[in-house]
């Protein structure tokens, strides 16, 4: 199918974009890589009189890595994330997730900002960024604020981006020593959204015991879900076998999957349980090697 008629704007600066957003208000929508928005427009599920393509704005495509961590511009594509060596080194979960999103064509166009701002509980990067403790920079005409990844996602297709704001940067703190992350995704075929996905970030103490752990789930509820109760289970523990089952149960009890064509709640919980164990194992192995 083909979209309804709309007017296309392609501002070259953030200021220009803010003034267009101001001028057209509720009649306008930001377009980044278009890989979520354009399918909705083409199927006429969504239409908007004014589309503001932010793709030509300078300065939003950088990946900057420094002592305090990474600053990733919102227009950085999923492919860029996937191929950036330092990202894979510092944040393996980002690399794991990026390389499993859709297919290469979609990854070449889709952006990190769009993946987050769309608020789709099936998108893979939100869970990763929640476990990595990322902070999002939101700019508006004459100001900016930051939002914690863990508080940013409100409901299905609903985030903390207010109208008139543009997500410009994703800031991720540098991981400490013996810290590692991992992302695993259960899916039917390459290129599919997940049946469930899970991100894990683990920090080990000097003695090899777990100091802190965060896990978050994709496709397991109306929005990204952070697994609770992990610290009590894992803190001070060294042996994977002694915690795997409990971590798995914690992940399953945090999840709120629903019945759909891809499976029943019971099946999805089973998948989440296995994913949690496999991802815990992978993250622990990676952390030990650091």
């Amino acid at each position: 199918m083909n979209p309804r008629e709309f007017e296309y704007h392609a501002p070259h600066s953030l200021d220009e974009a803010f003034s267009l957003l101001g001028k057209y208000g509720d009649e306008s929508k930001i377009l980044a890589g278009g890989q979520s928005l354009i399918p909705l427009m083409k199927s006429r599920i969504f239409s908007m009189p004014h589309i503001i393509d932010i793709g030509k704005i300078e300065g939003l495509r950088n990946i900057e890595i420094n002592k305090s961590g990474a600053r990733i511009g919102s227009l950085v594509t999923i492919s860029d994330l996937e191929s950036e060596r330092e990202i894979a080194e510092l944040f393996p979960a980002i690399h794991d997730a990026a390389s499993q999103i859709a297919d290469p064509l979609i990854r070449n166009a889709g952006t990190i900002g769009g993946n987050i701002a769309h608020g789709d509980p099936g998108n893979d990067l939100p869970a990763v960024l929640v476990t990595l403790g990322a902070v999002f920079v939101l700019r508006r005409s004459g100001g900016e604020r930051t939002a914690d990844a863990s508080k940013f996602f409100i409901d299905t297709l609903e985030t903390d981006v207010h109208h008139g704001e543009i997500l410009t940067e994703i800031v991720i703190p540098r991981p400490g020593k013996k810290t590692a992350s991992a992302y695993l995704k259960a899916k039917k075929s390459a290129g599919d959204f997940s049946i469930a996905g899970i991100s894990t970030c683990i920090s080990m103490e000097k003695d090899g015991s777990i100091g802190s752990i965060r896990m978050a789930l994709t496709s397991s509820g109306p929005k990204v879900i952070e697994v609770t109760g992990l610290e009590e289970i894992c803190k001070g523990k060294k042996d994977y076998n002694s915690i795997a089952e409990k971590v798995s149960v914690a992940a399953v009890s945090s999840a709120k999957p629903s019945d759909d064509f891809y499976g029943t709640v019971q099946y999805k919980k089973k998948v989440i349980g296995i994913l949690a164990k496999d991802c815990l194992k992978l993250a622990m192995e990676r952390a030990e090697k650091r």
Binding site: N2, S189, G191
Partner: protein
């Protein structure tokens, strides 16, 4: 002629590449409900303008269609989600889609029948019927066996699947000078022509149908659809060319999907694995209307249910049942994979019951001489092929714990009633028209190969022309593993007539005489038999902790008679194996109980992707057929053999009994 590279990279002239002056684009407004009463329709072209009933269905047509037939637009009721309710037009695709908003329909949703159990249990969907049984056929004879040691019963379901070629349906109609000209992506120009003549009430000399490059079909494009007649009607009404191109979503909701077959089967056997009898029910999800293939399929499945085996007692109650879904259509195999699945699954079950090797049970039951089954099918001796297949596929080389799935089947091609063809030699070139229209299989290759041999001329002088119902008077279609077999037979027959004529006129035949002269032969070359051939597959697979199946190896051994163009044979087999894997693991058209389509996108409907491709071994036997070229059928073989062998491989890897396709991960680990 197109090269294979042009074909697979899409550099062809497809239907959507056709542009005409003043052309209108058609958008079809469809029922969102699987079953609804329509109180009023305002806007667009609708049933008050055009309400003729479907005529002539193409593949699977028996002439015994009982109805109720589909009207071109829904009238008082919409009987499936996706049924055309109105059509709108515009000078561009955009304008045409915008105009869909102007159609207002007042629907009163009704409770739909979405599965076979409800179809049997609940009252008829159509007021004109007493029950939902569209057609019932009893095959074989009721029996009882006194000395049976083992009676096994089981129930199997192959869900509906979309044909999903890369290119969906589409056509351009242009009514000009009192003649309706139609360019269409298709498998059979002559079926489309008779369908259009019937629905539009036009005499044959006022409809001309042209074939264009076709990007796959798999059964989708062998027959009539309401959209075709609506586009033709609109072109006549508006006096302009009209184009309609199906979207993928329309394909998934409103084209005719295949499979949708349940079998409740009981076999009686001795402890040594000899099967004494088979009885059961075959239930086909016919969809909302008669016609197409639904009346034919249950009988066809029942008829060949015992495949290559000599089983003395058979009794099948075969029924086509009405549901609130699009009418069933043929999908690669069209009844053959269904029959084989039911038989082969029962044999594997019997192996588990008796502790015998499933392949030994197959050997015990294979026909040692020509055998007429109680359902009336005569099969040639099959045991010796099976013995060869066991060896060629390396079955006995596997050692525990590695155990492959194995299948053995009979291919019943749609060789009857033959095929129409035309050969015209003029100005040193040989042009060929065929009644069965290539939709990506590469008919050009066998045409060139066969005719260059017959005429002793350079293959570069021979071209396969686009089919066209004015250039060729009679034709059947390309489906049912028939094209090289009966199409090839037809062109050889015509070539030999031309050669005879030259010999008569000139005293002898020489290629130069042919190329210097003018010759034109056309005919429908009849062939009224079903030329059965045998095939076997071996498949190995793993199942991981998430319930994902990984197919490791897929080996094929089919009797192709003679491989006319070996690399095309290989391509047919590998592509077909992937479709067999697709049916078994991923593909499905599914609805919720309330009739909402759950598989509205291609990723939901589940095509196998590149990472799923296993290691293939392609082997074939060449036991020449009675045709002058020696070839037998092939196209459907892999879709018959692979699902059954793969189902067994999964069963062995997972320990779960496999009764349904697709085999879903949630079943394997649930």
């Amino acid at each position: 002629m197109r090269s294979e590279k042009e074909m697979v990279t899409g550099r062809m002239q497809y239907i959507d590449d056709i542009v005409m002056d003043g052309m209108l684009h058609m958008t079809v407004v469809r029922s969102p409900y699987s079953f609804a009463k329509i109180n009023a329709i305002r806007g667009g072209l609708n049933h008050t303008d055009f309400n003729s009933e479907m005529k002539s269905f193409g593949e699977g047509e028996t002439g015994e269609e009982t109805g109720p037939g589909e009207t071109m637009f829904a009238g008082s009721h919409a009987f499936y989600a996706g049924q055309p309710v109105a059509a709108v037009f515009g000078k561009t695709k955009y304008e045409s889609e915008d105009n869909a908003d102007s159609v207002e329909v007042d629907y009163e949703p009704l409770k739909p029948i979405m599965n076979l159990n409800d179809s049997l249990k609940l009252g008829p969907v159509h007021g004109s019927m007493k029950s939902n049984v569209l057609k019932r056929t009893l095959l074989g004879k009721e029996f009882s066996i006194a000395d049976s040691h083992i009676d096994l019963s089981d129930s199997f379901m192959m869900e509906r699947i979309a044909t999903n070629p890369i290119e969906g349906r589409g056509l351009v109609c242009h009514y000009d000078d009192n003649k309706l000209n139609v360019w269409i992506s298709g498998q059979s120009m002559h079926s489309i022509k008779s369908g259009l003549c019937g629905t539009l009430n036009l005499p044959p000399d006022r409809v001309r149908v042209f074939h264009v490059d076709t990007g796959g079909a798999f059964g989708l494009k062998g027959g009539m659809y309401p959209e075709y007649a609506i586009a033709g009607f609109a072109s006549m009404k508006y006096g302009k060319p009209v184009k309609w191109i199906e979207t993928r979503r329309e394909h998934l909701m409103a084209s005719k999907p295949g499979r949708g077959v349940r079998g409740d089967i009981t076999i009686s056997a001795r402890k040594d694995g000899k099967i004494l009898g088979l009885k059961g029910k075959v239930l086909v999800d016919a969809g909302a209307f008669g016609g197409s293939i639904a009346e034919f399929s249950p009988r066809f499945i029942g008829y060949q249910i015992t495949g290559p085996y000599a089983i003395g007692n058979v009794y099948v109650d075969a029924q086509a049942l009405v549901t609130n879904k699009p009418p069933q259509g043929p999908y690669r195999g069209a009844g053959r994979p269904e029959a084989s699945f039911l038989m082969e699954r029962m044999i594997d079950r019997l192996a588990d019951e008796t502790g015998l090797d499933p392949v030994d049970i197959r050997l015990t039951n294979a026909a040692t001489e020509p055998f007429k089954t109680p359902t009336g099918m005569t099969i040639p001796e099959s045991r010796s092929f099976l013995q060869d297949a066991i060896r060629e596929l390396g079955y006995r080389n596997f050692r525990k714990p590695e155990r492959p799935g194995f299948s053995f089947f009979a291919l019943l091609p749609a060789s009857s009633p033959g095929e129409g063809a035309r050969i015209r030699c003029s100005e040193g070139k040989v042009k060929v028209w065929l009644g069965g229209n290539t939709h990506g299989q590469g008919h050009e290759f066998f045409v060139k190969s066969l005719l260059s041999t017959e005429f002793r001329i350079d293959p570069g002088l021979i071209t396969l022309e686009y089919a066209d119902t004015d250039m060729l008077e009679k034709g059947e279609g390309s489906w049912g593993s028939r094209s090289a077999m009966v199409g090839g037979n037809a062109i050889i027959e015509l070539a030999r007539r031309i050669i005879k004529r030259i010999e008569k006129e000139e005293g002898h035949y020489a290629p130069e005489i042919l190329l210097d002269g003018e010759y034109d032969e056309q005919d429908f070359v009849s062939y009224k038999k079903t030329l059965i051939s045998y095939g076997a597959n071996l498949v190995t697979a793993d199942v991981d902790t998430y319930g994902n199946v990984h197919v490791k190896e897929c080996r094929s051994y089919y009797d192709v008679g003679r491989a006319l163009v070996p690399h095309m044979v290989r391509g047919q087999i590998i592509g077909g194996c992937m479709q067999g894997i697709g049916q078994t693991l991923y593909e499905e058209i599914s609805y919720s109980e309330d009739g909402t389509l759950l598989t509205g996108s291609i990723s939901d409907a589940g095509l196998p992707t590149a990472e799923k491709i296993p290691e293939f071994t392609v082997k074939y036997a060449e036991n020449p057929s009675e045709f002058p070229h020696g070839a037998k059928g092939l196209g459907e073989s892999p879709t018959i053999g692979v699902p059954t062998a793969l189902a067994r491989a999964i069963e062995l890897a997972s320990g779960k009994r496999i009764r349904n396709t697709p085999v879903r991960p949630d079943y394997l680990i649930g």
